[in-house]
Symmetry: C2
Subunit: 147 residues, 2 copies
DNA sequence: CCTGAAATCATTGGCGG
DNA sequence: CCGCCAATGATTTCAGG
């Protein structure tokens, strides 16, 4: 992990669809060299994937929420399995503290949200917050200089 | 927004770096047709970008947290500006309820986390939860059939 | 890591539904 | 308006150094 890798990661985080040729021009390496480095970063698990970012509000899902779920159930993995099978769930983190899970969801209408919360309540207490805005949308972690 | 667009979004969400030629094969359209559709999805704001997903724990940032910040400050936008300029912040949502902000951060060590929390405390009360696991990592919203 | 050649791909213009 | 085909220029990929 040197300055070339850091530049590569920054560029691919900014736009994952640029060509190796363009990437090569930006970091001052040849195209085969950057392709090789990218392959190694993928294999090392540094790059875990390339995702098109889709605006839920433009595909009929104007309401996004964070739901804190205080899991009461002992079969934790069963709850997680249920959450995985819930299409409204966009993201889910297992966290310390009483809550246990923080779930990000996107729904079309309030009744849908109500139904979703009702469904989640069988697993524990819920605390729902509507996302008003995303002042910082997913961005790159600040990379260390030393590795 | 028809079944072709939905297939395109699904494919680009699964792997944003596939070629138009490959995308065309998957959705059974020609390369120019998919390129045109992708351009329109971008212009319509449906696709907001393409991001390489980087594992913070593989770049020297093993600790990820969610910090709920109950903003006391009246100059909300100033707080947000400060948060934008904080490199440890990966994501930030403005939410309903007393908290106001939910911030996702990645840090290298516990002292760094402590310093970060101390910094955020000048803007209001904080409640920090460490992310243990991501049972559902950012995935595509379930698309509506009708548009 | 670079260069160079061959295969693949992106992009444009023109044509037909 | 939307998609297909064909051609040109760029890109990817692999070999060899």
């Amino acid at each position: 992990m040197d300055r070339f890798d850091r530049k590569i990661l920054a560029a691919l985080h900014e736009n994952a669809r640029i060509s190796f040729a363009e990437l090569a021009r930006r970091v001052n390496l040849s195209a085969p060299a950057v392709a090789d480095r990218v392959a190694k970063l993928e294999q090392a698990g540094v790059i875990t994937g390339y995702r098109a970012q889709i605006d839920p509000s433009r595909v009929g899902l104007p309401i996004s929420c964070l739901i804190e779920l205080t899991v009461k159930h002992l079969e934790y993995y069963l709850v997680i399995e249920q959450i995985r099978n819930t299409p409204e769930v966009i993201e889910c983190a297992s966290i310390t503290g009483t809550s246990g899970l923080m779930i990000k969801v996107a729904v079309d209408t309030m009744p849908s949200l109500q139904a979703l919360i009702a469904r989640l309540m069988q697993f524990g207490d819920t605390k729902t917050s509507i996302i008003i805005d995303m002042p910082v949308s997913p961005r790159m972690p600040a990379l260390q200089q030393d590795e």
